[in-house]
């Protein structure tokens, strides 16, 4: 590609500029997290901290923000919602792709139309339903909502299941397997790539979700990562070094997760969005 040699300086300049735009806002927060209060007040945001081992802000943020509790609550909600989504989604996908039944098109239509309804629009009315179930201010509220609003995973499962040859099921059924055995012993193990995709997309979404926990998990004992971090806004408004440390604590697991699973995350997101 001779023609692109001329363009290379522009190409690399634009990539470097974009990288600075992405990384600079994060870097300055990292700097602030290691500064003492006096140092924070006397230095500019772009000045690196004097002592890179000053963990005081992290200690304050960790204890004051009850971050351990936040991580624990997030993990519990994440684990139950993910397991539930996978079970509910694969069962439904199994029914849709392996059975012929009346009203099947109607059921598919219901799932399809629901995908067009953004979750935030219905939250006013959904709140009343969750309230009538007595789930407000219990982890159950977030769990049922993360399970109940997920149409995308069902799509991913249906799409994937259509690529598994039905002759496999039929062979097993001739050997005497029941429908449920087929689901558990044949379909579920073959669905692993789709399950991984859903777990990644859904996991990211739940870890980052703010609106649902903010609305339904008001009690400080139920704080998840998002709401624990948000609570710093009021009382710590003037102590940016503590807020910065807490922000870094929230971001750190994402960095680790991303570095470990980079390729799977890209593929998962692409598969999820294009269905």
């Amino acid at each position: 590609m001779k023609s692109s040699v001329m363009k290379n300086p522009i190409k690399y300049a634009s990539l470097i500029l974009a990288s600075i735009v992405v990384l600079l806002p994060l870097t300055v927060v990292l700097f602030a997290a290691f500064k003492t209060h006096a140092e924070y007040n006397s230095t500019g945001p772009l000045t690196p901290p004097r002592n890179w081992f000053n963990a005081d802000n992290f200690a304050t943020a960790w204890t004051e923000g009850r971050m351990l509790l936040g991580f624990w609550n997030t993990t519990v909600i994440l684990a139950i919602s993910l397991t539930g989504t996978i079970l509910v989604g694969t069962l439904a996908a199994y029914a849709v792709s392996r059975f012929e039944f009346p009203l099947k098109r109607l059921v598919l239509g219901l799932f399809l139309v629901a995908a067009l309804v953004p979750g935030v629009t219905t939250q006013v009315a959904t709140y009343q339903i969750v309230k009538s179930m007595g789930l407000v201010n219990t982890p159950g509220s977030a769990i049922v909502l993360f399970l109940g609003t997920d149409i995308i995973s069902i799509y991913i499962f249906i799409q994937f299941m259509q690529s598994i040859p039905p002759s496999l099921d039929q062979a097993a059924m001739i050997d005497g397997a029941t429908r449920f055995t087929v689901y558990r012993r044949i379909i579920l193990p073959l669905m692993k790539p789709a399950i991984a995709t859903v777990a990644i997309i859904k996991g990211i979404a739940i870890y980052n979700e703010f609106y649902i926990p903010f609305l339904y998990l008001r009690s400080p004992d139920l704080s998840v990562i998002s709401t624990a971090l948000f609570r710093f806004k009021g009382p710590y408004g003037a102590q940016w070094e503590t807020i910065a440390a807490c922000t870094m604590i929230v971001i750190l697991p994402t960095i680790v997760f991303f570095l470990l699973l980079q390729r799977f995350i890209y593929n998962g997101i692409t598969a999820g969005a294009t269905k």
Partner: protein, 306 residues
């Protein structure tokens, strides 16, 4: 509903022929998903339409019907229709987002040094927690903060302002934050789509003497048409339903109140469930209408699932 009616009949006869059994079997597998779908999507939508014609406060046992009053208020009271103008900022920003994402997806699809590093950097913001992003940018936009310092270094010191305090610029700052956060998502979607174009097509085009622009215009754009149109749907419904960024960063102050922030306040702080429901119905109708138009313009042949 006929199948539900026949279910008891099928259960009463234990040695039912296999055809009979098959009738209720799929419903057993579908029940959890359908139950959740109906409880948390369809019932709320139905209730919401009903609430929107009442002046319910969310607590009273009775709901007084008020006809179209709530809708009239949504369209006549400036506080309520103004939020659509705010969505405009995010909508325009999403074009920038798509353009930037497309540019980087194209250049990183072909040979580039440190390709994976750049890919990682560009995508990473999408994974970050919304509250964390809000705080990072609150810090960036502070008076005397990062942005002001950088502008000072670049000799543009006189352009510093109250990025979040000045109503003229606050929405642009917030929309910029949104571009920072979501460009990575569009980027990865485009990248995936471009990579699914078979490489022989590019080789054939090169033999025919096509330049980079021709390849972009005649191979890449048509090849990823579906994903570009999907990005536009996401952009429209996304810009109408912005919540995290303005709520966390400004709390809706200085003219940055978006539709969802306004609906949240109306419903959960002022307890005007009826009015908030009318807002939500309007939002839902707009989203459905736009999606419908989009589907008419770019028919999506893979919609049918069966």
């Amino acid at each position: 509903m006929t199948t539900t009616m026949q279910r008891p009949a099928a259960l009463r006869k234990p040695p039912a022929p296999p055809k009979r059994r098959k009738r209720w079997m799929p419903w057993l597998y579908l029940a959890p998903a359908l139950g959740l779908l109906i409880t948390f999507t369809y019932v709320p939508v139905g209730n919401m339409v009903y609430y929107s014609f009442t002046s319910w406060d969310g607590l009273d046992a009775t709901m007084d019907p008020v006809g179209l009053d709530n809708y009239v208020r949504v369209f006549t009271d400036e506080r309520y229709w103004r939020v659509f103008l705010v969505s405009g900022y995010y909508f325009v920003a999403s074009f920038a987002q798509i353009a930037i994402a497309l540019y980087f997806a194209v250049i990183l699809s072909f040979h580039t040094r440190f390709r994976n590093l750049f890919k990682g950097i560009l995508f990473f913001p999408y994974l970050l927690n919304g509250v964390a992003v809000g705080f990072v940018f609150l810090y960036l936009f502070q008076p005397g903060g990062t942005l002001d310092t950088v502008l000072g270094w670049a000799g543009l010191g006189e352009h510093t302002r109250y990025w979040l305090g000045d109503p003229d610029i606050a929405n642009i700052s917030l929309a910029g934050t949104s571009v920072w956060r979501f460009t990575g998502l569009s980027f990865v979607l485009f990248l995936g789509a471009i990579q699914s174009i078979p490489s022989e097509i590019y080789e054939a085009a090169e033999i025919d003497g096509a330049g980079d622009w021709h390849k972009f215009r005649h191979i890449i754009v048509p090849g990823i048409r579906r994903i570009i149109s999907l990005s536009f749907i996401l952009a429209i419904s996304g810009s109408l339903s912005v919540f995290d960024i303005p709520f966390i960063m400004t709390g809706g102050a200085n003219g940055t109140r978006t539709f969802v922030v306004q609906a949240y306040e109306t419903a959960f702080q002022f307890r005007q469930i009826g009015l908030a429901s009318a807002m939500a119905v309007v939002l839902l109708l707009v989203v459905l209408f736009v999606t419908w138009i989009q589907r008419r313009i770019v028919p999506d042949e893979e919609v049918t699932l069966s």
